[in-house]
């Protein structure tokens, strides 16, 4: 037996401490997700900011140059931008608020016990699962002034004598596309709120009933507070989606007549793909991002975010 081999030798000292190694290992596990997020979220944002600082009209490659904040100054003086921003707020506020109220009522209805509930719950999802472009085409047909069913029904019941061009008159166009968008978005709220309603334990209602709470009191003091996290998330998500959602408008009116239904996101698309002005389109998209970030921050602050009810 070799004696020397049995003498215990001190282990060589590790280059990094155990705690550091563990921290590094943990960060390594996060690396794939960080790379994916960076590549798909962060890089496009940084690229858009970079593009917004250049005069970048695709059809004029020889004019490509750095112009600093030139595109932002142009935006400030662009009356169409301000019009589209105003239209965007009208579009979002009207669409989401009415979708929420009707979706809430729908959820309460679908939460009740009745025969055929499963069928109605499935039917309720129909507007949401139809692609936006198809919804746009269907509603464009419904609103068609010369042979569309909406005018036809209104004429048959005597409410109209001359057809109304719903999508061609500035006074009606925005309301008409908002109506179509409301129809499409109700199922989103009803299904989200329905899920929230079903997650509220019956014991809470029973305890409230034992304590003498009326139906209205139970609604305001049990249902609403317990639904708050879902309502906050659903409305915030829907507001952001609607702000950026240009499919319906593109299909139904292309932003017309006379920009009456042009929202900032559809204006951004038009700038990019009709004028091929990617520099200015990037500027508009950066501003949209800033508006949405500010909105989300304020919204979560005012609604106290998605903290638990007891918190």
């Amino acid at each position: 037996m070799n004696k020397e081999a049995s003498v215990a030798m001190p282990a060589p000292r590790a280059l990094l401490s155990r705690a550091t190694r563990e921290t590094l290992a943990n960060y390594t596990y996060l690396l794939p997700a960080a790379i994916c997020l960076g590549g798909t979220v962060l890089f496009p944002i940084l690229k858009a900011i970079h593009m917004s600082l250049y005069h970048n009209v695709l059809s004029r490659p020889q004019d490509y140059r750095f112009i600093g904040l030139g595109n932002y100054l142009r935006m400030i003086h662009d009356p169409t931008f301000w019009l589209t921003l105003k239209n965007s707020f009208v579009w979002v506020i009207c669409s989401v608020s009415i979708q929420f109220v009707l979706g809430f009522l729908g959820a309460l209805f679908l939460n009740a016990e009745f025969k055929g509930r499963a069928f109605l719950r499935t039917l309720n999802l129909l507007p949401w699962i139809i692609p936006g472009v198809v919804v746009g085409l269907v509603w464009e047909y419904l609103y068609q002034p010369n042979y569309g069913p909406v005018n036809d029904i209104l004429r048959r019941v005597g409410l109209l004598t001359v057809p109304i061009a719903w999508l061609s008159q500035p006074a009606f166009a925005m309301a008409s596309v908002i109506f179509a968008n409301i129809w499409r978005g109700i199922p989103f709220f009803s299904i989200m709120i329905l899920a929230g309603l079903q997650a509220i334990p019956d014991e809470v209602y029973e305890a409230a009933t034992v304590d003498g709470a009326s139906v209205t009191q139970r609604f305001w003091h049990v249902t609403m507070p317990m639904l708050r996290p879902i309502i906050v998330v659903a409305t915030a998500t829907r507001i952001i989606w609607t702000f950026n959602y240009a499919d319906l408008i593109f299909v139904m009116t292309s932003g017309g007549p006379a920009n009456a239904t042009q929202i900032t996101s559809s204006y951004t698309l038009l700038t990019a793909y009709t004028d091929l002005d990617f520099g200015y389109a990037a500027t508009l998209s950066v501003i949209l991002l800033v508006i949405m970030l500010v909105f989300t921050a304020f919204y979560l602050k005012f609604t106290k975010g998605v903290e638990s009810v007891s918190g």
Binding site: L58, S59, R60, P61, Q62, T80, Q144, P145, N146, Y147, V162, P163, I164, A165, L167, S168, Q169, P170, T253, S254, G255, G256, P257, A258, N259, Q262, L270, T271, Y273, T274, D275, L276
Partner: protein, 433 residues
């Protein structure tokens, strides 16, 4: 088991990786789908982009390309169909990325923009030696010439004329217009045709898309207006404003247009007439074949645009072109295909199937161009001019993104005709580059 014949996991993985690399290197140079049938290993491929505004064109072009491919042993055309709405954008991004098709079909109002990008092949010397050069109408060459160089073949010509429901002229006891009718005659006829209680209107005015601006401008030319004079934009001249006011009043005062006119685009004006909602509309000959199916050949005719107060009138010529790109990889094959497409038989078939005008006189004298449905277009040729909006490449996109909303504001009465044309002239002047 003999170790020498055993396939270790490491060896297996190495073999798989090596075969993958070999296969990938073999595929790397291919520009066609791996599983598509190849004609012959010697045939060189020509990429041809074709933009599609209507499904009829797909079968027509597929048939022509198939015939070409069967007739050739050394060239094979691969056609890439792109919806019309995305065609211009797709070409620009392909050029920017350095991968344009070898050739494509496009409208002449895009040429300036692509030439500005330095993307178009100068075909002047080749075309001047082409067998049909002299027989092609000079106007057709004008639509595809930029700064003295010819950049495309004019595949088909279009100009505009008024479609009229002849059966309703009789039904309502109206007077069928002559070829030299006036704007007053036009208004009288439009009023006679308008029966709101029957959901029928006199004129399917186009308020949507670029042609909303072009059609209005054609009526303005009847008052002696012009877009450009001595290098300056003069589309806000008093004559233009007066004619535009008359045009807008078709919607606002005379109410001879359907309520949807301020946003009606190509599809709506063609279908509106086809469904019997409107009794006149202004369009190119491209919708003749469609109207033959919609309302029937004996029930409509075409007449030239009416003469305006200045005893003038204009119809704008446009052409569909066949164009080659500098960045194309098979120019020889592309030239072979394009000249084949421009041969009498193919050229005539293309134009007659789509209802467009051929660019050579000998073909324009044959039926169907002698039929009444084409009369308005043929009679308009003497006063047809190349669209003034082709003068500057930047105007192309701006007409759509800024011009159309301005005109729509005027159509719905939000701004006066003068305010509209002043803003429009300012926009054109700003984009004279």
């Amino acid at each position: 088991m003999d170790d020498r014949s055993r396939f270790s996991r490491r060896q297996f993985l190495q073999t798989v990786a090596a075969s993958g690399a070999v296969a990938a290197s073999g595929l790397a140079g291919r520009e066609v789908p791996f599983l598509s049938p190849t004609k012959a290993s010697a045939a060189s491929t020509v990429r041809f982009q074709f933009s599609v505004p209507e499904p009829l064109r797909i079968s027509l072009v597929e048939g022509l390309v198939d015939r070409f491919n069967k007739s050739q042993s050394d060239v094979e055309v691969k056609v890439e169909f792109v919806p019309q709405a995305q065609a211009r954008q797709q070409l620009i991004t392909a050029i920017t990325a350095g991968n344009p098709p070898d050739c494509c079909q496009m409208w002449d109002n895009w040429l300036g923009e692509f030439d500005g990008m330095g993307a178009l092949e100068d075909l002047t010397s080749q075309i001047k030696g082409w067998k049909f050069y002299a027989g092609t109408a000079p106007t057709a060459w004008q639509t595809v010439s930029l700064k003295g160089k010819i950049v495309s073949f004019p595949l088909a010509l279009t100009n505009d004329a008024i479609f009229i429901r002849t059966d309703r002229v009789k039904e309502y006891g109206l007077k069928m217009p002559t070829f030299d009718w006036t704007t007053d005659d036009f208004l009288t006829l439009a009023k006679g045709f308008t029966k709101p209680e029957k959901n029928q209107y006199g004129f399917g005015l186009r308020g949507g898309g670029t042609w909303a601006v072009l059609y209005a401008t054609e009526f303005m030319y009847g008052s002696g207006a012009q877009v450009l004079k001595d290098g300056k934009v003069v589309i806000n001249s008093p004559e233009a404003v007066s004619a535009f006011e008359w045009y807008i009043n078709l919607i606002l005062k005379a109410k001879v247009t359907p309520p949807s006119a301020p946003t009606d685009a190509y599809r709506q004006i063609v279908e509106g007439f086809g469904r019997g909602v409107t009794n006149m509309y202004l369009h190119n000959s491209g919708s003749i074949e469609e109207q033959k199916k919609f309302v029937g050949e004996p029930n409509f005719a075409t007449v030239p645009i009416p003469v305006g107060p200045a005893k003038k009138r204009a119809s704008f010529f446009f052409s569909e072109t066949l164009t080659m790109f500098k960045g194309g990889k098979n120019k020889e094959g592309a030239w072979k295909f394009l000249t084949w497409m421009m041969d009498d038989e193919q050229h005539f078939k293309y134009c007659t199937t789509l209802g467009l005008l051929p660019t050579r006189q000998n073909l324009a004298e044959k039926p169907p161009y002698t039929e009444p449905s084409y009369a308005g277009f043929v009679k308009s040729i003497p006063f047809s001019i190349v669209s003034p909006y082709l003068a500057y490449p930047s105007w192309g996109g701006k007409l759509d993104s800024e011009g159309v909303p301005m005109f729509q504001q005027a159509f719905v009465g939000q701004i006066t005709p003068k305010q509209c044309l002043d803003k429009f002239a300012e926009m054109l002047t700003k984009n004279m580059a």
